[in-house]
Amino acid sequence: MQTLSSRERERRATSGGGSRSAPVPLLVPAIVGMLFLVVPLLGLVFRAPWGQAWTILHGSAAGEALRLSLWTSTTATAISLVVGVPLAWVLARTHFPGLRLVRALVTLPLVLPPVVGGVALLLAFGRSGFVGQYLDQWFGITLPFTPAAVVIAETFVAMPFLIVTVEGALRSADQGFEEAAATLGAGRMTVFRRVTVPLVAPSLVAGAVLCWARALGEFGATITFAGSYPGRTQTMPIAVYYALETDPDAAILLSLVLLLVSVVVLVALRDRWLRGAV
């Protein structure tokens, strides 16, 4: 894969076909694709009981579920940044035997059904799991059915999104700047902090947003590993799932709240940070 210098990219962008109209063979499937993604969301908007919205949301567990969802997904994203970015760097910039295997293992949660991830977490970190039993015996810590378990489940499922995005950016980034910095006497850690991170910043933010969004929507691993109890481990997606069985109107409104939060965050970040990255 060849990388473009930033000047070359700019030249192409300005002379390129942004303003030309799309040919019909592309336009028609594009419209179909857009409708497919947008129509279900319109379904939520049309069916929502707007009149009683406030009473229903006020009476439901929406507030605590939303609060739980927001802080757990944000914590999961923070953890992913702290350990995921260094991991992405190692995968992109170093060579060691078994590198490909490590990369495959690290990105496995991307393709693994989340429920399977939840079972795996339970068997590892559960009270009788092969790690969890020592946490219990030595420290008296039991993770399942706690908010910490929600964060762990979300991190497990969402971190690979950050790793894949950042690793891709690191691979395609121009290493000339890093080499120049190194030639000028910067240590590897300084190069990472002062050159590499700013270079891939847009992808870093994009990866973090993807990771956060995936964590916010996490369902399968969470309900399997953390269970569901209102106010403690019942996140918004789980609250929606159960509300559908008891009070479909509440389920629709909860979904809309989640949708609104996601849209606000995406739009706010897009304007500030993600121009061209997402």
């Binding site: 009270r127 059915f145 269970g227 569901s228 109890y229 209102p230 019942q234 159960y242 069985e245």
Partner: protein, 262 residues
Amino acid sequence: MPRRLAVALVAAAVGLGSASCASGSSDTPSATSSSSLTGDITVLAAASLTESFTTLGRHFEAAHPGVTVRFSFAASSALAQQITDGAPADVFASASATTMRDVVTAGEASDPVVFATNSMEIAVPPTNPAKVTGVHDLTSTAVTTALCQPQVPCGATAAAVFTNAGITVTPVTLEPDVRSVLSKVELGEVDAGVVYVTDVLAAGEKVRGVEIPDDVNASTDYPIAPLAHSTHAEAASAFVDYVLSADGARVLSAAGFRQPGA
């Protein structure tokens, strides 16, 4: 399109059915004479019916070689919601009168018949780590307990037990159906789970049961009904009849269900 597809499916099923009749009628005595029933029926059944209905389905298929029975086992409340949202299915077997009533009210079924009843038991891991001896132990915060969601029949029936006993239990998790409660106990992740008597039996060695005395225990009815939008109404009502038959009662009793009125 759906009609043509249905015709094709029926034709295929008839073909299969007659083929199997022709080849092996001698070694399946029950499959001999009668059945002209054909089709592929989908039975939505409460999670607690997993083993017994799978067995009944196999028996029914042996008696009606033209019919294939497919099951979807889940919380009755979840199934009821799927049915009212238009899930293509032929029979609904629920673990509570309430969830069946929702389906009947929605016009998706009529004239449900109760085919079994079930009551609750405490399932604990084989080692019984929290030394649970009765429902009153579940009130302790030192005992981690899993229950079903309150709208799921097993959750509602467990709540009735706690009301009878005059206790309040704060679970660590409210699970989507009774089988997820059972598996949390099997995995040793909770100290106790309130499940059906039949679930403790079905789990065998993997859990130990702690009985709930009759004076505080609660039971739930299992109604069954063919669904209004079934595309194989005849096969669907034949399956319902089979569940209500003496053969059906025998399989259900072996699994620990009680007969209504018994």
